[in-house]
Symmetry: C2
């Protein structure tokens, strides 16, 4: 076990010991911030309790050395990409340096008393940015429950296609429209066709949906033409974030044949502000999906004993919603679903190895999404399409409002955390977005 | 008519007057080059005859002013992106400045005699690079003949889907694996399944193909959430290039349902080294596709009188091939097809307006591909899948070799040009790639 996983590790930032915090000293996720209303350049910060540690300040005070200092030197930039490119050993060294600063018997507290706000910024006084400049965004479809549910709506005769249990199905998404948590989501316009008409019409989507996903970022990349064997996939995964892959179901249904979803998804994708490192996730590793007896074994290039044993993650994702009326009436957000990443048929390592198996080059900061994380039960469905069964079974909010799909003013809040006996709970922070009316 | 379109315009670079050149003074395409075996930083050049004009040298000699100088100042960079972002008026000013330098009665020749190689580099002594750092790559499917041919092979009962004549079908491609012309193309490995087997296998693709496409680059971008009306689409198109969207048909057939092509395409996409500006293309504008009487009219957001009248392009694309044996025996490359961009059901403006219609933000340097350009006749089929009808009708090469799909050692050479009575012919230069054996 890595020192950073020790649940008894103590920290002089008191809020890091709150039972409800996503950011104990065992987490230390990376993000991009600046002090609100300052002229600071956005730069790398690390969440600790309700504070953000400014890596660059601690570096200039001489509190990092060796590999940690080298990594910290990449924290003056407005994205995590250069840090990610160093590879996970460098990240581990930087994390050790940060633990040394923040732990109760560490070297940091005396410096904090001297430096104050210059080295630690309250989250409440900070502006957070999209953490990564994403070169390419790829979205998978790894929940067999999601694939079966959606398939049965779009293709009742043929819900789960014959390739599903062999191929980690994925497609290229749109990188330009990846936005930071909190960015407003403008309802897209597009072509839709109702079954009773021969002719489509163009207008605001009436079936706007969220999709709750786990994202993972590429750290060290590979050269074009050089696949990444599954045994080495973990070396290329920097860390994880929450992803809301907003989807216009009516546009999707009309456009997606034969080349897949396009404008139904490309108007916006939100990510959480914090990227939780692969190292922080380690204590929550779990066996890969338990395939049914009749399921095929993964082909060799997708199969490694370690990945079968530890490639899954004990991780929970929740979706919460607050309508405009709820906000006005100060009715707190309500939870719509809670799912476990254990329901994913493919592991992150399998998705990454598959992606590079044809020689495709993955670059530092490329984002791979898991696809909607849905489980077996109705309470575990990670999008409204499934939760309301394409609108047939609306959700009732505490105000009595009903939802088949998202209305203008609805805020969707995604949360995620890893939890296991004997370890400190770690989380991702919220991934939020409010739907605003279609433009024009 | 713009001065740069005048077919009688003369140039002191003699090779620009060769009948066979792609690069008369009426063309002036932009690319990225450096002198071979030099330590120069790659920078923007303009092709003229068999020479490359180094914009930065002429700028430092004080030969550009005003808007042209401002644009020329962005030519010291290793990609065209910053130049593209200025918008097409700035590009037009820079082109006027270059015409002033290169025309026979212009200011350039005396300077050339003094500066020599510093301002003009022979193409034969230059290294060319991928001209643009592509943020997002989108591939359309705009040839109704290609869509019908491919559809009838993959879905004999349902070749052209009901959405085709309403929606400019497209999908997100992979940006990281876009490579410069001349880059070797490593045969991808992947999952394929033969119909006689229940189980797929993993190995080198046996159905490797090319796709001959026209690409176009976004110049000035749009803000997320702000669609681009079709009436303004032309302002956002910087220029055009050739695209070879290499495709592994056996991987594609097995993976593409339900989310579209993924690893079948993401191993490599080649582009021509030169980007021909929208302004140079203007004399070759042509009416949009002549729809059949029974075809639906485009929806309003895809319809503009100017685009119907001038949105097409009188442009020819050719595919040539030379096998390894042909190369050894010094047998010249043979032409496999010649197609006309007039066979495209959708215009570039319609594709771009559709892409942004949901608010998706397009950024300077984003690449949009037309999809395979195929016409009605067999000689006009822009990929081997169509040309050999999935291998049923092999092509015979001059050596007697047969091709169903590409073999290792085959070189594919794409050429494109615009030609019309009363105007100087302009071309794109070759887009080349040789297939090399699968790795490992």
């Amino acid at each position: 076990m890595n020192e950073s996983h020790d649940p008894h590790l103590e920290c002089w930032v008191r809020s890091a010991h709150n039972a409800s915090t996503d950011f104990p000293i065992q987490n230390l996720p990376f993000g991009i911030f600046r002090r609100a209303e300052s002229d600071d350049e956005p730069r790398v910060g690390v969440a600790i309790g309700d504070q953000i540690l400014d890596v660059t300040t601690w570096l200039s005070e001489g509190l990092f050395d060796g590999a940690a200092a080298e990594a910290a030197a990449r924290c003056a930039l407005p994205t995590l990409n250069a840090l990610m490119a160093l590879g996970n050993e460098a990240i581990s060294a930087l994390r050790r340096g940060i633990v040394a600063i923040l732990s109760t018997d560490g070297i940091g507290y005396e410096n904090f008393k001297r430096l104050g706000d210059a080295c630690l910024t309250p989250v409440s006084g900070a502006q957070l940015f999209a953490p990564v400049k994403v070169g390419d965004y790829t979205d998978f479809y790894a929940s067999v429950y999601h694939a079966t549910n959606v398939g049965s709506m779009f293709r009742p005769d043929n819900p789960l296609l014959p390739n599903y249990k062999f191929v980690p199905i994925g497609y290229h998404g749109r990188a330009s429209s990846i936005v930071a948590s909190g960015t407003e989501i403008i309802r897209p316009r597009g072509q839709t066709k109702v079954p009773t008409s021969e002719i489509p019409t163009f207008g605001p989507s009436r079936m706007l949906d969220y999709e709750s996903e786990l994202g993972f970022f590429v750290g060290r990349g590979n050269t074009l033409g050089a696949p990444i064997p599954i045994q080495r996939a973990a070396e290329h995964i920097f860390g994880f974030c929450l992803v809301n892959d907003w989807s216009a179901r009516d546009i999707q249904a009309w456009e997606y044949q034969p080349l897949g979803p396009f404008l139904a998804k490309s108007f916006a994708t939100s990510t959480s502000p914090w990227v939780v490192t692969a190292e922080a996730i380690e204590p929550f590793r779990a066996p890969a999906f338990a395939r049914d007896a009749g399921d095929p074994a993964p082909l060799d290039y997708l199969s490694a004993p370690d990945d079968q044993k530890n490639g899954g993650i004990q991780l929970f994702l929740e979706v919460w919603m607050q309508s405009a009326i709820m906000r006005d009436q100060k009715v707190p957000a309500v939870r719509l679903s809670r799912t476990n990443f254990g329901s994913m048929y493919w592991t992150p390592a399998q998705m990454l190895a598959h992606h590079a198996s044809n020689g495709c080059n993955l670059r530092p900061g490329d984002l791979l999404g898991s696809g909607t994380v849905s489980g077996k039960d109705k309470t575990e469905r990670g999008c409204l399409l499934e939760l309301t069964w394409r609108g047939a079974e609306p959700v009732t909010l505490p105000t009595g409002e009903q939802r088949r799909f998202l209305e203008d003013g609805d805020e969707v809040i995604m949360r995620g955390y890893c939890e296991r006996d004997g370890f400190a709970r770690i989380g991702f922070g919220d991934c939020r977005g409010i739907v605003s009316p279609a433009a024009g």
